[in-house]
Symmetry: C2
Subunit: 190 residues, 2 copies
DNA sequence: ACCTGAACACCGTTCAAGT
DNA sequence: ACCTGAACACCGTTCAAGT
């Protein structure tokens, strides 16, 4: 049984930054606000992350790792449950205080990111594709590889789009659920 | 035959702001850069748009009108061509200098928008739904209304997601085309 | 190693002042 | 009606200085 571990300053900065980016976006993230959240001065944040771009790189990478940890156990489940679990990860982000997937948010703001952060973003997308591919193969064992790759990419993009639009309209879970239901009914999520 | 009409200062501000938001995002938009683009001082921009939120409201509204003007003629075409025309509107945005739909970008940055701008954003989404519904009814004349509404929303969200992800990965049109192809093959866009 | 105050050129916004 | 310079509290970043 773990007690809540005290976060290192570096970890606390990353946690606060991730939360702000998911709710307000990368360009709305301020080193001074971040420092206030953590209890240090803004100049001190630069000791841990020399530039804002370095911080972006770190939190996208970490977010990918955390997402992967939540996806992996779903691979033990059968197709339908694994897919619903994946959907639930997107759903919970904005049902829980109107947050958006960090990867989706960073994709919108990609012009502000330095190259290393963009590379982490590509890695994030690849991790999702690896997971979705593994889930699809549970059911579609003989799908042609080109078709499978297209479907994998399409499912990820569609989930990001559902979250983007549902959250943009005010975070109504029913909107998200309705879109996902139609993805299933049309055959995209099936 | 129209010659290029000289833009009023107000129109020039809106045009420059729209372009910046589509490429870099609303939070990256600066009144001082905007003023420099138009050839006035930043304090003068406030004469036309008292706050940045007022400008946001104006450009989302205008963007919706412009998008509707490009969608309307597509309604004279048969199902397949109308759908491809709609897809082309999303495709051209980022093929042409890696821009993102203003509505999708504003959805990601919705936390920075005042209520009137959010209302315009909802109107933008409704205009898209009206168009997509009309297109779907060309082919699916007897689809149950609840199912139709879900499909309409799903198609719009999926298009925004395809654009978000394809652009986030660097603006490769092949990524966008592959996702759309899979939307069609799976039955979502059909 | 980790933190800080002070400075720099930026930002949105306000306002009194010009034409 | 339209524009402006100057001021305000903000921003990311740098740096010399502290412990």
């Amino acid at each position: 049984m773990e007690t809540e571990a005290p976060l290192s300053t570096r970890e606390a900065i990353m946690a606060a930054a991730t939360n702000t980016v998911m709710t307000e976006g990368y360009n709305a993230l301020s080193f001074r606000d971040l420092a206030a959240d953590v209890g240090i001065k803004s100049a001190s944040v630069h000791h841990h992350f020399p530039t804002k771009g370095d911080l972006a790189e770190a939190i996208v990478g970490r977010f990918g790792e955390d997402f992967t940890k939540r996806m992996e156990p779903l691979l033990d489940l059968p197709f339908e449950e694994a897919l619903d679990g994946y959907i639930g990860l997107f759903r919970s982000a904005f049902v829980d205080s109107n947050r958006m997937c960090l990867g989706g948010m960073m994709s919108a703001e990609v012009s502000a990111l330095p190259e290393p952060a963009r590379a982490q973003l590509k890695g994030f997308v690849e991790a999702h594709k690896d997971f979705v591919r593994a889930v699809l193969l549970k059911k579609h064992k003989r799908m042609a590889s080109e078709k499978l790759e297209g479907r994998v990419f399409a499912i990820f993009a569609a989930m990001e789009g559902a979250q983007l639009i549902a959250r943009g309209l005010g975070g109504d879970a029913a909107v998200f659920d309705g879109i996902v239901e139609s993805y299933k009914a049309s055959g995209l999520l099936a």
